[in-house]
């Protein structure tokens, strides 16, 4: 346990250092832009990893929650002149509520049924955002006002770099706390053996619902921040492919590894920027990368590399 604690504080410190020092080597706004998107994707993935990696449930609809959060911020601030933070909070509460309402019936289901249900939910959200043009601006999207803190307008890539980096750090801290608590153990237990978890007295449905709601709220927060950082949002954010992207980030980085989720988000945010040089071959290459990583590193990058490294240094088990 002491060791776990060390890994937590140590890992957090390292992440904080990276976030603090990265600006020294980021040459211009484009890199900041990529870094912001990495951090916000990572924010979603840290939450989603709690659901997929720790609770063993899959969601193919998290982009829907991300977009709902984004649009809550966009619509409430642009059309109703709400305070940005109030809009953000309302978005998170609303998304949490929606997740709660659908979660109870959905989470009785397992595996593929849950995949289908969340997929359907995400697609319905995307369709609604596309169709309700008077509210959402439709497929062409809508402009989002700047987030204001008192008189201070939060704009510019550097500002948003620090905001998204800070929020990510807090989110990682929260996630690590949760995993290493009684709640986290209950979640991991129901992933390990649902029957055994029930027998020791864990209300598994309740915990699944809880973690589904939490991960949805993380996504909503990321969506709100994205909307304000980018100052523009389109319904593509809710799309099926975006949901797939999030899941892929989690799985690629390493399920049941919070840092894995961050690394996965970083790789899959940066990768398209590299693959763009391949032009038409970009998608083909992306698909191939997914397949190969899953075949050769089914546990994901971070856990696999950790294992390799451990073997190399010949450390003790764990």
């Amino acid at each position: 346990m002491r060791r776990l604690l060390d890994a937590r504080t140590g890992g957090l410190l390292a992440l904080a250092l990276i976030i603090a020092l990265l600006p020294l080597i980021l040459p211009n706004k484009f890199y900041y832009d990529v870094a912001i998107k990495t951090a916000l994707n990572a924010l979603v993935c840290v939450g989603l990893n709690l659901l997929i990696g720790y609770a063993g449930q899959i969601s193919l609809g998290h982009a829907g929650f991300f977009a709902l959060g984004g649009y809550a911020s966009a619509v409430l601030t642009a059309r109703y002149q709400w305070n940005g933070f109030a809009a953000m909070a309302v978005g998170m509460a609303g998304v949490g509520l929606l997740a709660f309402i659908v979660a109870r019936p959905i989470l009785r289901l397992r595996g593929h049924y849950l995949a289908m249900a969340t997929l359907g939910l995400g697609i319905i959200i995307a369709i609604v955002l596309n169709r309700e043009i008077p509210i959402t601006g439709g497929p062409d999207g809508m402009t989002v006002p700047a987030l204001r803190l008192g008189e201070w307008r939060l704009i510019g890539t550097t500002t948003w770099y620090w905001i998204s980096g800070g929020v990510l750090l807090i989110a990682v801290w929260l996630a690590l706390n949760l995993i290493d608590s009684g709640v986290g153990r209950a979640l991991r237990a129901l992933h390990g053996s649902e029957v055994a978890a029930e027998t020791v007295g864990i209300d598994t449905t309740r915990y699944k619902v809880l973690i589904f709601v939490i991960s949805a709220v993380f996504a909503s927060l990321a969506g709100s921040l994205f909307a304000h950082a980018e100052r523009f949002i389109t319904p593509t954010e809710a799309g099926f492919m975006r949901s797939i992207e999030f899941v892929t980030m989690v799985v690629l980085g390493g399920m049941a590894s919070t840092y894995g989720a961050v690394v996965g988000a970083a790789i899959l945010t940066v990768l398209p920027q590299l693959l763009t040089k391949l032009h038409d071959y970009e998608h083909l290459a992306f698909g191939a990368v997914l397949i190969l990583v899953m075949i050769f590193m089914p546990k994901g990058l971070v856990p696999t590399l950790q294992n390799r490294l451990r073997h190399l240094v010949g450390g003790q088990p764990r």
């Binding site: 593929h112 049924y113 697609i123 319905i124 799985v251 399920m255 899953m294 075949i295 089914p298």
Partner: protein, 295 residues
């Protein structure tokens, strides 16, 4: 009446497409409990390969069709052999999520290959028996729709025969019920798995060819057809063949009638709303059985 019939024809035609895709999902799911998210891409390959063979290869339709079905089946086999089996065959197997990501990766990969080799344009196949619409009680039907419905029926009959009457079909069925037991009685379950991908791909390819004269074909047509087919498979009860057919037709009809009598604005949401409601109320689907977990 004519209006209702017209809507119903539309629903049946589209529903038959969903049904064929759903059937592909069911086949693979039964053999391996894998949901193949690249199922829609088989539809793409069937249609696009036929177009390429006819325009590029100069083959007549009658030759291009079986060739394209073969090509699709080969892609299905390759998918199983090189992407799914290495993951499943590993000691300890692979998690549901891993397999989902692999098949999604495969779908992106296949789309990428089709896009690079055959282009991004949409194409049309000539209708098998002309374009002149048939008038039935005031509703007008494309003759190709009859082809789609007819072949769907034939496929159902052929599958019924295959699973009920042939040795290999029975082996596949046995594997779907209990993989371990099937292995113990000497069934090569790896071969069954491979065959299920081949068969399922061939079905998807056939669907793509049959429908290309109606829906046209394009490198990315498989995305939505795949998702709707998945929804149909779940609606009918995952792994149930008759369920897949019923689910597909039901979704197609529901979409058409909802667009006709309620509003077309949310037509593409209908399938997913239905599926959510069904999952809430009856998670095992329309025709799926309930299973008790063993401890």
């Amino acid at each position: 009446m004519a209006e209702f019939l017209q809507f119903a024809f539309s629903g049946l035609t589209v529903g038959a497409i969903y049904a064929l895709v759903a059937l592909g999902f069911a086949l693979i799911y039964n053999a391996s409990h894998v949901i193949n998210f690249a199922q829609g891409e088989f539809v793409t390959i069937g249609g696009m390969a036929t177009v390429a063979l006819m325009t590029g290869g100069g083959l007549p339709l009658l030759l291009a069709i079986p060739a394209a079905v073969m090509i699709t089946a080969l892609v299905g086999l390759a998918l199983e052999k090189f992407a799914v089996e290495p993951a499943i065959g590993r000691p300890g197997g692979a998690s549901v999520v891993t397999i989902i990501i692999i098949t999604i990766g495969a779908s992106i990969f296949i789309r990428g290959v089709v896009q690079v080799t055959l282009g991004k344009d949409f194409h049309r196949l000539p209708a098998f028996s002309g374009e002149a619409p048939i008038d039935i009680l005031g509703a007008r039907l494309q003759p190709q729709s009859l082809w789609v419905l007819g072949v769907t029926l034939l496929v159902v009959a052929a599958l019924w025969w295959f699973f009920g009457r042939t040795r290999f079909g029975k082996a596949m069925l046995a594997t779907s019920h209990n993989r371990l037991a099937a292995q113990l009685v000497g069934i090569d379950t790896r071969l069954v798995l491979l065959a299920s991908f081949g068969l399922s791909a061939a079905l998807g390819g056939l669907a793509g060819i049959l429908t290309a004269p109606i829906t046209l074909t394009k490198y990315d047509i498989g995305i939505m057809l795949g998702l709707k087919g998945f929804a149909a498979a779940i609606l009918g009860g995952l792994g149930s063949g008759p369920g897949a057919i019923v689910g597909g037709i039901a979704l197609g009809l529901a979409e058409a009638l909802a667009a006709g009598y309620i509003s077309s604005a949310y037509k593409d949401a209908v399938a997913f709303i239905i599926i959510l409601v069904v999952l809430f109320v009856r998670p095992s689907g329309l025709l799926g059985g309930r299973s008790t977990e063993r401890v």
